[in-house]
């Protein structure tokens, strides 16, 4: 996260590859399910042997004595509808919820986040020197209306995308944050409204940032967990 600061986001998980390195983020939407982005994974039927999620710690690479840290293998990947760029990851066992680990709510189907809502991105990705990259960073971004964003992107905005307004200070997600959450505080509850996806440049000051609009895929998410 560029332009953010160390913080707490108990639904944000770190996805680790086979040598145990962090390479993408995710959000805990159910005790045994994490949502992330398709770009982070080689295929929809990839063999996930050796891949894990790490949660319950603020540190990117916690020491062995970190009390709340949980590391859970990923056993299956399910790709979302074609345009969604989403994946669901099934964990080998449910995560234990505690003060460091919480689920994040899903929005109602097709819910549109009101313009100006303050949302938060979180991740262990590249900070470009703006903060301590060894811990979880968070940053707040205001939602931009669909029409205004579509204008800024010269009509190329899709319904499955959600925008946040660019900040002059240069705040945004970056390498290593992809798949992580855009969480919005709604009715005293943090709701997963967006998922971070790769963009050409990090933390642009002149263009809106794009996220996958989760509310468009809530029915698919529920269906996968139910099936």
């Amino acid at each position: 996260i560029v332009g953010g600061q160390p913080g707490n986001s108990p639904w944000t998980v770190s996805i680790r590859n086979r040598v145990g390195a962090h390479f993408c983020g995710g959000s805990l939407v159910k005790e045994q399910w994490v949502i992330s982005t398709r770009q982070c994974f080689s295929s929809c039927d990839a063999d996930m042997a050796g891949y894990e999620v790490q949660l319950g710690t603020l540190f990117k690479d916690p020491g062995p004595e970190d009390p709340d840290q949980q590391t859970i293998p990923i056993v299956r990947i399910v790709c979302g509808p074609s345009e969604s760029q989403l994946v669901m990851l099934k964990l080998a066992r449910p995560a234990a919820l505690n003060r460091r680990v919480a689920l994040i709510c899903l929005p109602p189907e097709r819910y549109v986040v009101p313009e100006g809502t303050i949302c938060e991105i979180a991740g262990w990705g590249e900070t470009r020197g703006t903060s301590d990259g060894s811990v979880l960073n968070v940053a707040r971004l205001p939602v931009l209306s669909h029409s205004e964003c579509n204008l800024a992107l010269r009509g190329r905005l899709k319904e499955s995308e959600l925008c946040t307004a660019p900040l002059r200070a240069g705040v945004g997600a970056c390498e290593g944050d992809y798949g992580g959450p855009l969480a919005c505080l709604t009715a005293d509850c943090w709701v997963l409204e967006g998922v971070i996806t790769p963009s050409r440049v990090c933390a642009r000051t002149d263009q809106p940032a794009l996220f996958i609009r989760v509310s468009l895929y809530v029915d698919w998410i529920q269906k996968v967990m139910k099936m």
Partner: protein, 458 residues
């Protein structure tokens, strides 16, 4: 420090079935796999053993998969360990230990049975110790040319069988990442450590964790994109060492090259993206600053490590590069588009496809749909019985639950309960825009965060 298991080749979840008439194996005994291997190694009659990891029972066997009247069968309770010498089709050293089933000479002549004394009389008497059996090639007298046999041709008394040395048997291409041969010694002749053991050297390359790297027994492999196949050694003083394996004369033609996008992990991506996602220019592969590394272009001829282009020479998650910024060693090039990996749509549907009655019966990934009335491989929650009016015929794609993402089906792939089909919305087919109405929001328990921690955290 050498494990007795080093002499065995392991087949996971496999049982060796013999015909009832054959000699029944001795009763199982308790112990670890290594104890079992020691027992079998010490017995000339033993050629393999079943090991039940759960009950820790071990059953010695007088036969292998190459014995007559046997068959291999999947059985999750057992791992089958067979003596390598009986399975290998190449020789180590002069082949004195070779116990394979080759029975023809290098010129194609059939071998004479060791029991027989015609057409050629001889003084070798078959015994469990010398391994002379049937008419298989053997090397009972340490002949430097390797295993041989008496021939059935009266004019040719004996002839070498021409069985290759293991290091020459299977050659390797590029950096040997696809090498699956049977060399199990290093260049200095040291025996390799088994990949499924953590002694004498602890290591991260568990076979279960890297199913695609072929980490079988203690054979030389290249799981980490080193220059050549290597292994951990049974010498506690020397952790790992390269193996001597012949390089194939012909270099393989690169397959599935892509330039504008990348497929899978992008190992065959040959495009020109040379900037990381966060906008940092990549470091040239042929330089060692600001980051020292071992991916020298000349050492990895098949990886096309040109200029400072994003590449994936080591099987990472996606193309990547060393960055030109000293503080950021490596960065992925996730911004390169992924190549589409879905079938072209055969038909189209209106709305959500709830009225689609076509005959497409494949998912967008090309997997065959499971018939709606079937119970395997998936027990359906939606079926013709539960949705009589949804026209759930055969295994055609349908949308019985008004899924907003279109027709779908249960799939014949046991790992994929359901998936969407190779059908796309018809052009001009309108669905109410998400922007038209917004709902009130009500949430129950999730999404709560202990805000006290947050303040302390800041």
């Amino acid at each position: 420090h050498r494990s007795p298991l080093n002499d065995f080749q392991r087949l996971r979840a496999t049982e060796l079935l013999a015909e009832p008439a054959d000699q029944p194996p001795p009763p199982p005994e308790r112990g670890s796999a290594e104890q079992c291997a020691r027992r079998c190694a010490a017995s000339l009659a033993c050629r393999a053993f079943h090991y039940d990891r759960q009950s820790q029972l071990c059953q010695l066997l007088p036969r292998t998969q190459h014995s007559p009247r046997v068959q291999l069968q999947k059985n999750t309770h057992y791992d089958l360990y067979q003596k390598k010498d009986y399975l290998r089709d190449c020789i180590v050293g002069d082949g004195t230990s070779y116990r394979g089933t080759r029975a023809t000479t290098e010129k194609g002549l059939h071998c004479q049975h060791w029991q027989a004394t015609t057409p050629h009389d001889h003084r070798f008497v078959p015994s469990p110790r010398n391994g002379l059996e049937e008419n298989y090639c053997r090397n009972p007298d340490r002949d430097k040319r390797g295993p041989w046999c008496y021939t059935v041709d009266p004019k040719i008394r004996h002839q070498s069988c021409g069985i290759k040395k293991c290091e020459d048997d299977v050659c390797m291409t590029c950096n040997g990442e696809d090498y699956r041969g049977a060399v199990d010694h290093t260049e200095s002749g040291t025996e390799c450590q088994r990949w499924d053991l953590q002694h004498p050297h602890k290591h991260p390359y568990h076979p279960d964790k890297y199913p695609d790297k072929g980490l079988d027994d203690n054979y030389c492999r290249n799981p980490d994109s080193s220059e050549r196949p290597w292994c951990y050694t049974t010498d506690p003083e020397r952790e790992r060492e390269y193996c001597r394996i012949r390089l194939c004369k012909k270099r393989p033609r690169p397959l599935n090259i892509t330039t504008g996008c990348f497929r899978g992990k992008g190992e065959s991506y040959r495009g020109r993206a040379n900037v990381t996602v966060s906008g940092i220019p990549c470091q040239r592969w042929d330089t060692q600053t600001p980051h020292r590394h071992h991916f020298l272009p000349e050492k990895y001829p098949c990886k096309d490590l040109q200029e400072n282009y994003c590449r994936n020479p080591d099987g990472s998650e996606a193309p990547w590069c060393f960055t030109s910024r000293p503080t950021v060693r490596i960065a992925f090039c996730f911004h390169i588009r992924r190549c589409p990996d879905e079938l072209a749509a055969e038909e189209c549907y209106h709305g959500h496809g709830e009225h689609y009655r076509g005959h497409v019966s494949k998912t967008r990934k090309g997997i065959t749909c499971q018939p709606w009335a079937a119970q395997t491989p998936h027990v359906p929650q939606i079926s013709p019985a539960t949705h009589p009016a949804a026209h759930l015929e055969k295994n055609y794609c349908r949308n019985p639950d008004d899924d907003s993402h279109g027709p779908w089906c249960y799939t014949m792939d046991p790992r994929t309960p359901f998936d969407y089909c190779a059908i796309k919305p018809c052009t001009g087919s309108t669905v109410p825009s998400i922007m038209e109405n917004t709902d009130a929001v009500a949430f129950e328990q999730c999404g709560r965060r202990d805000e006290r921690l947050q303040r302390k955290g800041r």
